[in-house]
């Protein structure tokens, strides 16, 4: 009798353990390199910054769609309790969401409830000097690790289950003005990152680290050194402080084993004197071999830039039949389509007000007007320094075959402020301030037909916004605005179907995932992360 009773208890206990171990498996399945390649097969998850290697920020989930979007309700919120801009895009992996907050916070949350599983914050040195807020845009994941780039230019691997640091490497001495704000990109066994610092006269680079050990596998300097092709595009020693940071996550074409990265402005940002030449590879699209970091080809958008027109917008891969393209709505106001096999420009056409260029070279690349350069008294140029768009993600919807981008209509007065380079100090060589137009600055979500470059529809924002855009198979696009609204629109028409007032400006790009058969949409605003679903 007694032994039977013990047997029962043992059986119950074993069953319980088995059940719980199954649960553990569900929540702890390894994210393999293959799963990243096949991310389209698991739309319930969001495995990388842009959702897929193509950088489309598109989800095949369709539970939330044009017929029911008006019924969306908030499900949970997570507060970082931190000030400043909250720019993260969550990863969603098998019931857990991973994100980052201001000042290099990182967290893992129960995707169902928003309750924290672990929270991490890096002890940052007091003298870091990120140019534009103590921000971070998200994590990458491989195996049982998530990867974080930090404001003091480290890359850290955190244990995905505990948040404990597994390895921590220094990419470069941050005191030279370097920082990392982007979400890394994992390709195969490598963690690929780039640096920020175009306002400090850094020499930009893109690095690859072994995901297991943190060992550096390659470095590609975005400003070529002596003897390298492109070095001749810099005047005398200016290459050493040439900028060209790479601060937005790239994309990856496994068919040709090519990773695409974009670069920012040459330094100093708004003063061309002293760096005569095209200043390669600033403001460029780079096609790199992810195994070696070797450059396959490059395409430079705005040459010898003097208006801070970083080309650090996600280079979105789109296939049209036999055409394999990169599409980018660029900060300089042009929508560029580039053949991603050859690196040749297909066309460039404005998607916002542009005055810095009024002609093109024989290849169709816009050329800067001579009189658009900043002057001591100030020179009004469109777009302004924050650009016609910026780092906020666009989206490409394969259903509507439209490219959606947040456009900003703001012109600035650019004036020079000559200054000597000093390591780690601000190195703008310029100032800019809003022009004195009577009309207020505005913005819009614009749907671009990539075949023609024409704008099919736009949703006007009362002021310029920093929200990215998500598209879904439900026929929807989601975006936010500077007034704090998170909005669902019909992808085909631009009609607003639903909105929620988050209480602070949206400075992030939304994403979506599924949990317990329920689709969620998530966005960061203020210091909180919000999720929405059907009731």
């Amino acid at each position: 009798m007694r032994s039977e009773w013990i047997k029962k208890i043992l059986f119950a206990a074993t069953t319980a353990m088995l059940v719980s171990s199954v649960a553990v498996c569900e929540a702890g399945a390894q994210v393999t390199a293959q799963r990243l390649l096949d991310s389209g097969k698991e739309p319930q998850n969001w495995l990388m910054y842009s959702g897929d290697y193509a950088g489309r920020r598109y989800s095949a989930l369709e539970q939330i769609n044009i017929s029911n979007a008006a019924k969306l309700v908030p499900k949970w919120a997570y507060q970082t309790m931190a000030g400043g801009k909250f720019e993260t895009t969550l990863l969603a992996v098998d019931g857990i969401v991973y994100g980052t907050g201001q000042d290099n916070r990182a967290f893992a949350l129960d995707a169902r409830s928003g309750r924290p599983i672990w929270q991490y914050q890096r002890a940052l040195p007091s003298d870091i000097r990120p140019c534009c807020g103590r921000v971070n845009r998200g994590l990458a994941i491989l195996g049982d690790k998530v990867f974080l780039g930090t404001l003091d230019a480290h890359v850290i691997a955190l244990d995905a289950k505990t948040g404990n640091a597994v390895w921590d490497i220094t990419t470069v001495d941050y005191r030279g003005g370097y920082s990392i704000t982007l979400a890394p990109l994992v390709i195969k066994n490598l963690v690929i990152i780039g640096v920020s610092g175009g306002e400090y006269g850094i020499r930009g680079f893109i690095d690859a680290y072994d995901a297991e050990t943190g060992e550096r596998k390659w470095r590609f300097y975005t400003v070529p050194g002596p003897g390298e092709p492109g070095h001749e595009t810099w005047e005398s020693e200016s290459w050493k402080i040439g900028g060209a940071p790479a601060w937005i996550t790239g994309t990856f074409d496994s068919a040709t084993n090519t990773t695409f990265w974009t670069t920012g402005n040459p330094s100093p940002s708004n003063r061309g004197e002293g760096r005569a030449g095209d200043n390669l590879y600033s403001n460029s699209l780079l096609a790199l071999d992810p195994d070696t970091g070797k450059l396959k080809w490059y395409y430079q958008f705005s040459k010898h830039d003097e208006h801070d027109y970083d080309a650090t917008q996600v280079p979105v891969m789109v296939d049209q039949g036999e055409k394999h393209l990169i599409m980018q709505a660029n900060r300089d106001g042009f929508f560029y389509v580039v053949d991603r096999r050859s690196g040749k420009l297909v066309y460039a056409t404005p998607f916002a007000k542009v005055t810095w260029s009024d002609s093109k070279d024989p290849n169709g690349t816009p050329i800067a007007r001579k009189d658009a350069s900043p002057t001591l008294e100030g020179n009004r140029v469109c777009p302004g320094a924050a650009g016609a768009t910026n780092w906020m993600s666009p989206t490409y919807d394969p259903q509507t075959q439209l490219f959606y981008v947040t456009a900003r209509e703001q012109c600035d007065v650019f004036s020079t402020a000559p200054q000597a380079y000093e390591a780690g100090h601000a190195y703008y060589g310029s100032a800019y301030f809003p022009n004195d137009d009577a009309a207020p600055f505005t913005g819009a979500l614009r749907a671009i037909d990539p075949n023609t470059g024409k704008i099919k529809w736009e949703w006007k924002h009362p002021s310029p916004t920093w929200s990215g855009v998500l598209s879904t198979a439900g026929g929807l696009v989601f975006t936010g605005d500077a007034e704090g609204n998170f909005i669902a629109l019909e992808a085909a028409s631009g009609k607003a179907l639903w909105h929620f007032q988050c209480g602070a400006s949206v400075y992030s790009s939304p994403m979506t995932f599924e949990m317990d058969g329920k689709q969620y949409v998530a966005v960061a605003a203020g210091s909180a992360l919000f999720t929405f679903a059907l009731p």
Binding site: W118, A417, A426
Partner: protein, 295 residues
């Protein structure tokens, strides 16, 4: 930093790390405290009269401050004229350092490095900026031209400014409170705001402050029941409108429920030309605003 930590309960898996962070935070705070003491001790600009430092400061000023204070530090639609001898938030070098480094709570002046515009300045660079400001500022407080007492009579009397504007708690609510405006804006800007109020409306400071940038645009709506309202926009987004009508009544409206909605990028205030307000009277009015602002 401290308050952000109080919501972490001890005994959790991560508590040890948070305790460590807590200790780190204490360390950082202690270091900050020490730094504050050092800065407090250093109330004197090491670059007094140093023309070279002032020149470097000018570049820093253009990159970090000109956005609001204008290229020559003469002020603009967003920030005070810093060439005036008298600074509202303290005149001593140490005061200027504190104002630049810590910002001014309750105003649009952000702490150093938090402008989303410049990249933040080192201690040395702040002192250089102060050297620059000293190099361009007037040697003595400007003699207030005009008769402030008469200006006050005009404000509350014939010029009828107080119908819409308030000074030190007295007056109307439809337009901006003018109690401190003269210290926050250049005199040229104030004169223009009287002569041609629609030329430049009050400006939002930057996008970070956008939620609070009241620009006093004129709005006319017809509500669902046919009521016509005219007034100023207090705030709005794509879906809602918060306005004050000319009788100082608040209206909180949903745009999709309105019969009509029209917003003009112009002021409800009439332009005060020479006939309505002579140059002499305008000078007296400015004298009053300057006198009030200096208090």
């Amino acid at each position: 930093m401290f308050t952000a930590r109080t919501d972490f309960r001890p005994g959790r898996v991560w508590s040890r790390r948070w305790n460590l962070c807590f200790l780190c935070a204490c360390g950082v705070l202690a270091a900050c405290g020490a730094a504050a003491i050092i800065l407090r001790a250093q109330d004197k600009n090491p670059f007094v009269g140093d023309a070279k430092a002032a020149k470097l400061g000018e570049s820093q000023f253009r990159a970090n401050c000109a956005f609001c204070h204008g290229l020559g530090a003469r002020g603009g639609g967003r920030g005070p004229d810093l060439t005036r001898a008298q600074k509202r938030h303290g005149n001593a070098d140490g005061d200027l350092y504190r104002t630049i480094n810590e910002g001014v709570p309750g105003t649009a002046m952000p702490p150093n490095g938090a402008t989303q515009q410049g990249v933040g300045m080192t201690e040395e660079e702040i002192w250089q900026v102060i050297a620059y400001i000293r190099s361009v500022q007037a040697k003595a407080p400007a003699q207030i031209m005009g008769n402030a007492a008469h200006g006050k009579e005009l404000f509350y009397g014939n010029a009828a400014c107080s119908t819409c504007h308030m000074i030190q708690g007295k007056g109307g609510r439809l337009g901006p409170d003018l109690s401190t405006t003269s210290s926050a804006r250049s005199t040229d800007y104030l004169v223009e705001s009287v002569r041609n109020p629609s030329r430049r409306l009050a400006q939002g400071i930057s996008e970070a402050m956008k939620e609070f940038s009241q620009e006093y645009e004129t709005v006319t709506v017809v509500t669902a029941d046919g009521t016509k309202l005219m007034g100023v926009v207090l705030n709005e987004d794509n879906f809602t409108l918060q306005m004050m009508d000319t009788r100082e009544e608040l209206h909180l409206l949903q745009k999709d429920k309105l019969q009509s909605y029209e917003k003009i990028r112009g002021s409800l205030m009439p332009p005060y030309d020479q006939k309505m307000l002579s140059d002499k009277d305008l000078q007296d009015l400015m004298a009053y605003l300057l006198a009030v602002g200096a208090q």
